[in-house]
């Protein structure tokens, strides 16, 4: 099958949906400019014109309410933010308006509104350009929250999001943009609310979100060499969360690590840990271990930033601890790092 990047997959999903349905449009700060949101809006302006692909003034709160208004009136907006952090300016619209609008009309109206937002990392993004905040959105009834990891999930889930009649927050990690994999050419959907076994294994379950799946895969590869078989579950959608897949895996392995691309306190890792502990009560061989950001704002300098983020090594060490294994010598290990290609500024 054809191989394309995560970024191209996003682009293709939007293009195909805009082809299919003239109600779909895409907007946001910088959306049609020559940088094309890291390439993901490439070609849309040329193909669909400035009525369906446009730039906006800098006003996140208003442009979120704008999307809600447009959705209620029959269009299907896709609003893009180059950093999730900017959604903090729109929390009032998201939480007080967008999430509750359908409910306040007794479920009668549709709000087909997709918000794509990118998680920044590296090269000194600092504390205002590195948040993920997916737990914020998942906390609120009425919002669906999707975090695809693979190119093929990116395409299928974005198409589902665009076709959904409810608001969907779609979170993309900047470093996944270069991931390349097989992606079907024709439009297809992946149901919102279904997880995915990213890697099958039998000794321990790692539940990972977004970029942390890449770290988990790296960890799994290293651990495989020492005979440890890691199963990786990517929930993909965290609201609604189908915890069945996770619980099933943990019941099989008896161990669970949650590797979340976020802070731990009151985050999605807590939700998974709480559910696993409940659903697998008495079947766990060790307590659920949570791995996430250090409990600090994100520092700028690389050495501290590297420490701030959880990585494959943290996962390996956690697995070793859970399974009572000796520490693998990782000094000669060459962990793949997107930082190598991610040279400044953004």
């Amino acid at each position: 099958m054809r191989r394309i990047s995560y970024c191209e997959a996003l682009n293709e999903a939007m293009r195909q949906e805009m082809d299919r349905d003239p109600a779909v449009f895409v907007y946001g700060i910088g959306v049609p400019d020559h940088k094309k949101i890291f390439g993901s809006t490439e070609g849309l302006l040329e193909r669909f014109g400035p009525d369906r692909c446009f730039d906006t003034p800098l006003c996140e709160e208003t442009m979120t309410g704008f999307g809600l208004g447009a959705a209620v009136n029959g269009l299907r907006p896709i609003h893009i933010h180059i950093r999730v952090d900017f959604l903090l300016l729109a929390m009032n619209q998201l939480v007080n308006m967008v999430s509750a609008y359908v409910y306040s009309t007794g479920g009668k109206l549709k709000v087909p509104f997709v918000i794509r937002a990118i998680v920044g990392r590296g090269w000194g993004q600092g504390y205002q350009h590195s948040k993920s905040l997916h737990s914020y959105f998942a906390h609120i009834p009425g919002l669906k929250v999707v975090l695809p990891t693979t190119p093929s999930d990116a395409k299928g889930l974005l198409i589902s999001a665009i076709r959904d009649d409810n608001p969907v927050i779609f979170i993309e990690h900047r470093w996944l943009y270069w991931a390349v994999d097989e992606v079907a050419e024709e439009p297809y959907t992946i149901p919102i609310g279904e997880g995915n076994i990213l890697r099958s294994g039998s000794d321990i379950t790692v539940v990972a979100t977004s970029w942390m799946n890449v770290e988990a895969l790296e960890a799994a590869k290293v651990l495989e060499r020492t005979g440890v078989s890691v199963e990786i579950v990517d929930p993909r959608t965290i609201a609604p969360l189908s915890d069945g897949l996770i619980a099933e895996s943990v019941r099989k392995t008896g161990h669970c690590i949650v590797a979340d691309n976020d802070w731990l306190d009151c985050g999605f890792s807590a939700e998974v840990a709480a559910r696993v502990a409940e659903k697998c009560f008495g079947q766990l061989k060790s307590p659920v271990k949570r791995i996430g950001f250090a409990p600090t704002p994100c520092p700028t300098v690389r050495c501290l930033e590297n420490q701030f983020y959880p990585n494959a090594v943290d996962i390996i060490r956690a697995v070793e601890q859970k399974l009572g294994l000796d520490s693998i010598d990782l000094s000669n290990e060459d962990f793949y790092s997107h930082e190598r290609r991610f040279k400044g500024p953004f």
Binding site: Q93, Y103, G106, L109, G142
Partner: protein, 318 residues
């Protein structure tokens, strides 16, 4: 004799009467929803909605009794919602602060100050895109002028040239705080007039003057229009009582406004216009009956069933 004038009076009367009955029944503790009364401000939504077509769309704040009734005339759905019944516009889920009737063009009422304004802008964008000729009209108080989202939305509507009618019901207070203590400028219309929109203002309680003003605003709706209208809230910010001894405003102020109460003004016009006292009274009686009936129905209706709580979080295809 103008049918329009009579129609406008009937709408004003409907709203006033409905609210008078809220005042009467609220102490029974059956309408368990915070009431932000429109009383005194009715002429604005009535005049503006008269100028709109039925297809045009409105957005309002928590103080939306008048806007809702002016747009929909649906006293059944109104009282059904206030009593929290199955027959309410949102089966009781919305209450007084979130009245809406999307089918009839009342798209949203919101209890967060200014929060409906960007919705109106986006909805207008969709209308423009779909070339359906609908105008979006958003009602808000003077308090909304303090919030950044008003300025952002105005800017967006102007730069995109969207068919939005902004209507500021300036009752001089946000809760108990007067505009003069909140505004770092002398004249809001002077400022807004320098955006790429048309500004209209009036200090009137005459519903027909407001209607005509709204009509001219709508004529130029190739750009956004901004209506700034002065008015006076008769009752307390929230609740059904007077509050002239609370200290933040004086009864004298009210007296001056009440002298030109919008119903009195319009009633006088009808009489001058050839309607008889009897014509008016018999129309009022019909409205009284209609409202009494709506209230009776609402009280008799059943509450939503428990399972209703979980319904409609997401869109339901039915």
């Amino acid at each position: 004799m103008s049918k329009l004038s009579f129609g406008l009076y009937k709408k004003l009367y409907t709203i006033r009467r409905a609210e008078e009955l809220i005042v009467e029944h609220y102490p029974e503790d059956e309408m368990k929803t915070p009431m932000h009364m429109s009383m005194g401000q009715e002429a604005i939504p009535v005049g503006v909605c008269q100028a709109l077509t039925p297809e045009d769309q409105i957005f309002a704040s928590y103080r939306s009794h008048a806007a809702f009734l002016a747009k929909t005339e649906d006293t059944d759905g109104f009282f059904g919602e206030l009593y929290g019944k199955q027959t309410g516009t949102a089966r009781g889920k919305a209450g007084s602060m979130h009245l809406a009737a999307p089918d009839q063009g009342h798209l949203c009422s919101s209890a967060i100050v200014a929060s409906c304004i960007p919705l109106a802008v986006g909805a207008a964008f969709a209308n423009k895109q779909r070339r359906n000729g609908k105008v979006c009209c958003v009602f808000f108080g003077d308090g909304a002028l303090d919030e950044g989202v008003l300025w952002e939305s105005l800017n967006v509507a102007c730069v995109m040239k969207l068919p939005v009618l902004f209507v500021c019901e300036d009752n001089h207070f946000a809760v108990h705080t007067p505009t003069r203590m909140r505004q770092g400028y002398k004249s809001i219309t002077d400022i807004i007039g320098r955006f790429d929109c048309n500004v209209f203002q009036e200090d009137t309680t005459d519903v027909e003057a407001i209607y005509r003003l709204a009509l001219s605003a709508l004529e130029s709706i190739g750009k956004p229009a901004f209506l700034h209208l002065k008015c006076y809230r008769y009752l307390e910010h929230v609740g059904i009582l007077e509050d002239f001894n609370a200290g933040y405003r004086s009864k004298l102020e009210f007296d001056a406004w009440y002298k030109r109460d919008c119903l009195a003004v319009q009633r006088k016009r009808l009489l001058a216009d050839g309607y008889s006292e009897e014509d008016i009274i018999s129309a009022e009686k019909l409205i009284d009956e209609q409202i009494a009936n709506s209230i009776r129905q609402a009280r008799a209706a059943s509450f939503p069933k428990p399972e209703e709580l979980y319904r409609g979080v997401f869109h339901e295809t039915d």
